[in-house]
Symmetry: C3
Subunit: 299 residues, 3 copies
């Protein structure tokens, strides 16, 4: 089975995954379930965090790595189709994590793969394991994912992290609040998905209006590449800066998340507050990816 989208896992599957991640994280010695297995990490767009997190997870489970760490090291430069590349790499690796520059490319790559493929980000498309580690971090800290209010601040229109998190949230009893200027509010695709799933959401333009209602605040930086007017991107970006003052207006048990790197999002003085969970989420990510690979390899 592949993991391609934020919507393909059920509530039960997610909770089982989180239980298994927690068991791994709490175990003194990690069961070496991947001995003799190889993970292929194919990153046609630069990444540090996601690639190294997957590789660390595989190594700590006793497995090994083959890697294309960037597009320059790949014969995709020679004009090979993603379908052929996927089929080829699935002759080598037992499981594959791949990032591509454009939406839909991971699905193409997976078409002829004989082994599980994990979408590690396909342009403006999906990045489901990011949501896994964010929701796992919330679940670990709060003990549940139901009855919470989740604020999503940033470019809700284009950010694959914010879009996908909104969709994955629908399997839980989570109230969503989108925090963006009007032009960066989610598009119809996301909103109609929420309506179909019967989930409550609100849209505001300013964090100040809702900070005291939030159990979780996820922030994602503005990506300048989506703006023709770079000056406008810069101005908008500054609206998403989060400082200590704002955090302190929120609930004591507020969880602040950011997929990192943070550029004009969370200020470094927030790091020392108990609400800051983004570095803990990086650590958690290794365990949730371990659990995911264990599951995908068993099916």
């Amino acid at each position: 089975m592949h993991l391609l989208t934020s919507t393909q896992l059920s509530r039960e599957e997610l909770l089982l995954l989180f239980e298994q991640a927690k068991t791994l994280q709490e175990s003194k010695t990690i069961p070496q379930t991947m001995t003799g297995k190889i993970l292929g990490t194919i990153f046609l767009e630069p990444s540090t965090r996601t690639r190294l997190s997957f590789e660390t997870a595989m190594l700590r489970l006793g497995g090994q790595i083959i890697s294309i760490p960037n597009a320059e090291s790949s014969s995709l430069n020679k004009g090979e189709t993603l379908e052929d590349t996927g089929r080829m790499i699935s002759s080598f690796a037992d499981i594959i994590a791949i990032r591509t520059p454009e939406k839909g490319q991971v699905a193409k790559f997976s078409t002829h793969s004989s082994v599980p493929v994990i979408n590690a980000g396909d342009g403006t498309g999906e990045h489901p394991t990011q949501h896994l580690l964010d929701f796992y971090t919330i679940w670990k800290n709060r003990g549940t994912l139901d009855g919470l209010t989740l604020g999503l601040m940033g470019d809700n229109k284009n950010s694959r992290v914010l879009r996908g998190m909104a969709k994955m949230a629908t399997v839980f009893d989570i109230k969503l609040i989108f925090i963006s200027p009007d032009e960066l509010q989610p598009d119809e695709e996301v909103l109609s998905y929420l309506k179909k799933k019967g989930r409550e959401y609100h849209q505001v333009t300013n964090i100040g209006e809702v900070i005291d209602q939030l159990d979780v605040l996820e922030i994602n930086r503005v990506r300048h590449e989506y703006f023709e007017d770079k000056q406008r991107a810069l101005e908008i970006g500054k609206q998403f800066i989060l400082n200590t003052e704002t955090v302190r207006k929120g609930k004591a048990e507020l969880i602040v998340l950011d997929p990192l790197p943070r550029i004009n999002t969370v200020q470094t003085d927030v790091d020392d507050l108990p609400q800051a969970k983004y570095f803990e989420a990086v650590e958690n990510g290794v365990f949730v990816r371990m659990a995911l690979m264990n599951q995908l390899m068993q099916r």
Copy 2:
């Protein structure tokens, strides 16, 4: 011992290698002959298939990898000679697979290496392990390499795959047919080698003339970098497109091979025919490289 050229292995050595590859491929658990050993993969020209195939082979034998995945990650940029680089890397690795942009560079690299060096492609020079996996695939499917007719279609003048395959074929009782326009027929170096070895060959310009005689058809894409006239390269390239219709005119047991990536060579609808063996060859390549490394490390 190094593996540098397509002509250095005898008939007996090749057949022994294929037997050993087959034993590995059929074994339930791969003997961990490389435990504690390190393969260095030095790719000064981009590659996916060859590098990952070598690395997979080493990991599945229980060994480990150090790698220069592309020229940018190397201090060859600082002006170090290949001789010094080879000597240095042989202090680290127990065996080395290297690809270089220019002919003769792998031989230079191997001069002062204290460990076995495998030529994984040196520009227009040689790429012997590609032939190993192609001939192994034929041998596995037909049970022999004698009494066969092998068609080589593409740029027989410049392609290291086609040139080397023609030469390696001479240790078996193989009839060669070169399929190219006149300007891309093999040069005197290759033809005089075949004459010296007493092997029969024919030269035709069109696959249609000979498709019914072939036991094996190897196709390699035209490389545009060898043509000043890029438009001409494009036109010629199209002559080497292989579709289902042509394959069906051939023998039922025809084996179609392509080193991949395929660009204007085998059409995707051929993939589903039993004659298509190019993806099987990718899988086979891992085992023939395992057998090769086992052999080189024992001498």
Copy 3:
């Protein structure tokens, strides 16, 4: 504990390290002290020797590797601070070796790292493990580091190798001779450090004046990037060419070292002389890095 500078290790710590490196180098089987551990190699400037040496050391100790082999494979491109990157990677790896383009960047990176960080070169700053392998090579060959005369030839003003070696030498009874034209003699920072430590040094412009006094000669190439006048860099560079004739004027037990790559430094005909120890130093480097990582992980 981190290893950031050439001055942080005491005489006793250095000698203990060399003893441990020698034990590892002489042992028939390397104790697998790093089983289950991961080294992160982060090279934001290209390197072959240093990165592969660290990786080889870790693999031979039974550990594993995660790597950013060049800046292109990193999300530092996205504008992440070195402090955040360091904190993040220390969630994955158990120890980190990092090279950066600019002085001071490794120290920044280490600020929030929860695991040991080794400076593998920070621009014009420091590269302490290079000195470790050079002094270890001298110690192995001579049995002591006291009572020796060490010549440092090249760009003594800018070279991190020469500057750091001069400083590290002060913990031993070593007489220093700087061999450079006036404009490339060490700056006040280095000279005042030597005075403070009470160590004797001399400054000459020509190797011929002092070759017969030297027990060790370390040469480092001129880096053209430090010269506005590239022609001048070329002229100066030629002054540091070392040939057989000059070596033969020195003591029979002279040890010639060069951090490599050698560009206008040691001529290849010197390689066959017993004085040439630069390739032995590369081999030694793996063992001294093993010993270092063992020590840093124990504290």
